[in-house]
Assembly symmetry: C2
Homo-oligomer: 215 residues x 2
């Protein structure tokens, strides 16, 4: 397995930033988008539970409806793509069963081989309060968010992570509760406008000594 | 700006997996590790608040002490590196002030230019309950987790994301509360052992139709 030159990987991370103004004339090519979706699918999660669904909102009318619930941030309508990262509601033993069934199918083994794994998952999911499980699962969605942003950067695709939106309104407009999901974070993706002032701002990070501590 | 061939980026994501058994004889070279730390520093966060610290535990004695609080998972001591992703406790207005001061310094502007931004942050941080702010900040740490895992994969470095550990014990052993942090998730990194059975298992993901929905 090859990998990428480390300096070039860092260059891509430095190149990325939270795009404020997208080039409205540029769309992410379909074949590139399919690969970004694949990155989302490949995201790791606790126990491999994948307690999420990624809603890709291409409908322009719906994006216009979401705009006023997004602090008016134009990326919602101007970006090539909008992804709403949603967490599965009420994750419980049935989800462990579903994952084990899928694992057995993918690996060509009998589900009973995975009984220990299944029982461990069910224990973790039922030992804690529903609120705790909900937050535990929500955190997983943020791993996928990090995977998405990093992968996009590696692919040379711009993105903007966004938490400034009214989740309850997104849920209602997209009908997520009826589907069993709740919106937790969003990302817009596409290509930066040549005149996006944010593109040239120096990236602000605290000093390494404040962020990393070696023990 | 160049970027990487999309198929090769996906290859790296498929290559990665949660390493069960690390090669104890292989260390991540210092120059590569510095770049992975840089990726952590570059991770995006809500408002750019960076409400985190990443504790890199190199002390073998401490790692032995952490092992019994990690469900006995040998990666804790066998991996080349162990990172404890911690969230800053009690994030509030002072953190907004600190970020604005740092932004002004990095960008060579007067802090007052950023008053609107500062007041927006302070509003968000004080309008909500401390519990809500704590969880909001904790979620950010998971973005950094996703960035770390993805960047490691791009660099050809193996890793294992781990939530199976007793955070309170980690906090105590590492003295995190006194430093103003709490452990939320960990990652071990290094190189897979040639006989790690997990390396050859088929990756289990639900069908695309269950994970992605286009609207």
């Amino acid at each position: 397995m090859t990998s990428f030159p480390h300096d070039e990987v860092l260059d891509q991370l430095r190149w990325r930033y939270a795009v404020k103004k997208f080039d409205t004339s540029r769309k992410i090519p379909a074949d590139a988008w399919v690969k970004l979706e694949e990155a989302l699918i490949l995201s790791p999660s606790s126990y491999g539970l994948q307690p999420w669904k990624f809603f890709v909102v291409n409908d322009r009318g719906i994006r216009e409806k979401l705009l006023p619930h997004s602090w008016g941030q134009r990326q919602i309508v101007d970006a090539s793509h909008l992804v709403v990262f949603a967490v599965k509601a009420d994750v419980g033993p049935a989800d462990a069963e579903r994952l084990v069934a899928r694992s057995a199918e993918v690996r060509g083994i009998h589900p009973s081989v995975l009984d220990t794994y299944k029982n461990m998952m069910i224990g973790s999911l039922t030992r804690q309060t529903p609120e705790h499980v909900r937050e535990w699962m929500t955190r997983q969605v943020f791993i996928a968010h990090g995977v998405f942003l990093t992968t996009a950067a590696m692919m040379g695709i711009d993105a903007c992570p966004m938490e400034g939106f009214v989740a309850a309104q997104y849920d209602e407009i997209l009908g997520l509760p009826a589907k069993g999901y709740r919106a937790v974070v969003i990302a817009t993706a596409g290509y930066r406008a040549v005149d996006d002032a944010n593109a040239t701002l120096a990236k602000v990070r605290f000093r390494k000594s404040e962020i990393i501590e070696t023990i």
